[in-house]
Symmetry: C2
Subunit: 235 residues, 2 copies
């Protein structure tokens, strides 16, 4: 188990949320609580739909992360209550955001063990989108910081952002491998710049990350579990 | 005017908000509008004080930037209205945040001319705190991106963050010069790691950046205008 299966790879980038640690489940929990507060006006299903619509309207302004999500909840509450939502409910919504930010960090299975093994043979980095302070806090709480040479917090994960990242790492795209749970953010743009990608799906996906047409995606590897990385990367 | 006055300096870091472009004035404008909405309950002076208190309570959770500021306004409105604030007013507060985020960018005097000159002889970087997406957007709108080799968006500007920055730049602290409008963020921690700093005060200062006791600060240069940098850096 000590020969490298992909000796050309110099740097492995890891997505963070739902690749290294739990995230989406906390957002879904906050969303459910929010829908409960909206019960006087809409069903859970409708309230979720309105919240998603508000999020998409302001995503280009707020960016990813708990604060923008929280502000979108407030906008949605005012909107769907037709201006009838009380200050008390607004206060509860603000609390939901603060709880989300302070959520204890929970690593996914085998993450530390695998990073420990890989860090002997590769330069490991974190490449995550989202809120700067949120992600820094999570990384600190993860106790994984020492495995990573570099933390890249990106405002979005497009081809251009990956090109910039690879240039910054001073490597060729073909020497970069990205590992993550989102086809849209961690796989497609990475393949499109000529790098490699491994998809480790997580069972809950944010609607924004859904890819409707997967027929034109370049070849990539899909794994069921984080520890399967060892089998892919070593002969 | 072509000999370098500080030939040991390899990299110059620039703070962004109120060093390269206007910022605090937009926050103060939003604050004034907010205080008007709070008139049924408190005077402007008292409302400002309550807002600042709310900001300080959550700064470690929200971080710097417009979204945290906006959420603090909402918390303050609920609090000082004793739960009487209407959904309509909450909506207006959310709008104030969105306006702040979409504020057109206005460069300070001579910034581009000076950066153009300095970029011939130094590696220039931006080292700013605040919201990732906000700062990236402002930099793009500034048309200054090409003058900078690197953009560092920091969740806070402490000694440790500057140490990390200098290590990342692969230079010695003595080879780094920081330019900014905040004694607390751009000068003191920079001097404390053994680098140099130039203070260019801006006439409006955020209360959080105030330094009570300036008697123990190591030596640094203060300039009145951005273009005075040329006189300091060239013989």
């Amino acid at each position: 188990m000590s020969d490298l299966a992909k000796p050309h790879i110099k740097v492995i980038g890891f997505d963070a949320d739902d690749t290294l640690w739990l995230n989406e489940v906390h957002y879904r929990h906050a969303e459910t609580q929010f829908c409960k507060l909206m019960e006087p006006w809409l069903t859970e299903r409708e309230a979720k739909k309105e919240l998603f619509r508000a999020e998409m309207e302001t995503l280009h302004l707020y960016g990813f992360g708990a604060k923008g999500f929280n502000l979108s909840m407030i906008t949605t509450a005012v909107r769907i209550s037709n201006g009838q939502v009380t200050a008390e409910t607004i206060d509860s919504i603000v609390e939901l955001g603060l709880e989300l930010i302070q959520q204890p960090l929970e690593l996914l299975d085998n993450v530390e063990k695998v990073l420990d093994r890989l860090s002997d043979d590769f330069r490991l980095i974190v490449a995550t989108k989202g809120d700067l302070l949120d992600q820094e806090r999570k990384l600190q709480n993860s106790n994984l910081e020492n495995y990573f040479h570099h933390i890249e917090i990106m405002s979005d994960k497009h081809e251009a952002s990956y090109r910039k990242l690879v240039r910054h790492l001073d490597i060729k795209p073909a020497e970069f491998l990205m590992v993550g749970n989102s086809l849209k953010s961690d796989v497609i743009p990475v393949l499109d710049i000529g790098a490699e990608a491994i998809h480790i799906p997580y069972h809950i996906d944010w609607e924004h990350e859904h890819v409707a047409d997967t027929s034109k995606i370049l070849p990539y590897t899909t794994l069921d579990h984080f520890h399967d990385l060892i089998e892919v990367l070593y002969v």
